[in-house]
Symmetry: C2
Subunit: 269 residues, 2 copies
């Protein structure tokens, strides 16, 4: 196998499953090359991706010749992406009754989803997340993209109980928007053992829903390492969950449009 072929194949293998360990020892055997040769190839790939701001290739300690790709978004692309999103979401045509902002098109756009998945996974990479949890329905596309980049499963909290989830644990909470008692339910088989959960959702006001998920996950003895949301309101500034991270902030919504801004890292707690 020629060096150029190896570089293309190695890049493909690493990028196909972000966050997933790849064994160089195994590839060296399959391709009939020395492991040290593959290590040099990985060094080239790491350097090229780092220079492009597209993430890095980590060497795993304790795994014989294990490496994995961790995706990122270059700073300039990130800034342009968030500024563009903020502008798109500010238009008066997006304002819905009750001060909601129409976002379903954005939450269904494959480029947006992949970029958000990269940013959320980068933000919580060090937390050793082993499951992404979301509440149906609008956060599921974001959760899917994030789980792909973290290489972990997704668990979906339901608003009702479904036979298809098997035995489930249900809890009740008071919703932030209409003060009514709501139910949420999660299948008992949905969580891994020793779960370290990242909650992903599309929108957060005070954080009552995320708080309810935290409480539900206590029933699973899961640890919640953080909450990542696409958009949060600037008020109340104090949310009902810790370690929350949002990409966009909405300050005010009126008939003239929404005041949406990229969230600065300082905004995030």
């Amino acid at each position: 196998m020629q060096r150029t072929d190896r570089l293309i194949r190695l890049t493909q293998i690493l990028l196909e499953r972000p966050g997933h360990p790849v064994s160089l020892a195994h590839l060296a055997e399959a391709w009939g090359v020395a492991k040290s040769t593959l290590s040099e190839d990985v060094a080239s790939i790491r350097r090229t991706l780092l220079e492009a701001g597209k993430g890095t290739v980590e060497t795993l300690v304790g795994v014989q010749g294990g490496v994995r790709y961790h995706a990122d978004v270059p700073t300039a692309e990130r800034e342009g992406f968030l500024a563009d999103l903020a502008k798109r979401l500010s238009g008066p045509e997006r304002v819905l009754p009750g001060g909601f902002v129409y976002m379903s098109d954005v939450l269904g756009n494959p480029y947006v989803l992949d970029a958000v998945g990269r940013m959320f996974s980068t933000q919580f990479w060090s937390k050793r997340v082993n499951v992404v949890v979301t509440v149906e329905t609008k956060g599921i596309t974001l959760a899917t993209a994030t789980a792909r980049h973290l290489d972990v499963p997704i668990a979906i909290v339901r608003r009702d109980q479904r036979v298809t989830e098997g035995a489930a644990i249900s809890t009740h909470y008071v919703s932030g928007s209409n003060r009514r008692i709501q139910t949420m339910s999660l299948g008992k088989r949905a969580m891994p053992a020793d779960a370290r959960a990242l909650i992903v959702d599309d929108f957060m006001r005070a954080g009552a829903t995320a708080r309810a998920v935290v409480d539900l996950l206590k029933e699973f003895a899961a640890e919640v390492v953080g909450t990542a949301v696409f958009m949060a309101t600037s008020q109340p500034a104090e949310k009902m969950v810790d370690n929350y991270f949002s990409l966009l902030r909405v300050h005010e919504v009126s008939a003239q449009g929404a005041d949406v801004q990229p969230a600065s890292f300082a905004d995030n707690s």
Copy 2:
């Protein structure tokens, strides 16, 4: 920029957004190399990916120097993957009341989702799909993965009407499983103009839900080019929708487990 760096970067750019056109003219300018040089690089990448069964790089007619990656799953991996899934889903511990099979763990597994997304996109690649449509909740993860590989948006049909979707069109249908009248609703802004929709869902029995989506999409003047489901029942053999494709067939469900088999291409209509 050295050839090895170009090959790594080009592979990364192509694989990052499957199905999305990449302009070689633009890259040639940005990197200060001849477009013919990049065309040779793309030829190397195409050959290497094809040999590995990982899909191909298409040259786009009518776009100056446009290319795009179309992902696939190597035949041996596909067969092993489906056989393994069929076995995993056949266990008696998965049988739920009503003859349902517990699949939520599989539908939340990032490797499964990516592989299914590749297979669905390959199957319907020639149909020029421009939107993937699913019904909440369990099909959303599959739809997200499929839409990524087709580089098209996702539209989510809701079981209720939500203020966050804006003005919506609702229809009613009789569900296949409990013969009750159900409502489904899709936001008016959710569909592109001249929509060519692929319906994606987790499970199909007779196809009443998919049929209801087809009828709902008529209200949007959308053309449905096919329906892709993860698992279908072998009976009734005649489904209520045309051009349906399933990866797995379930023949019988009893307390001893489910008889799940990879669907042969001949099973699909």
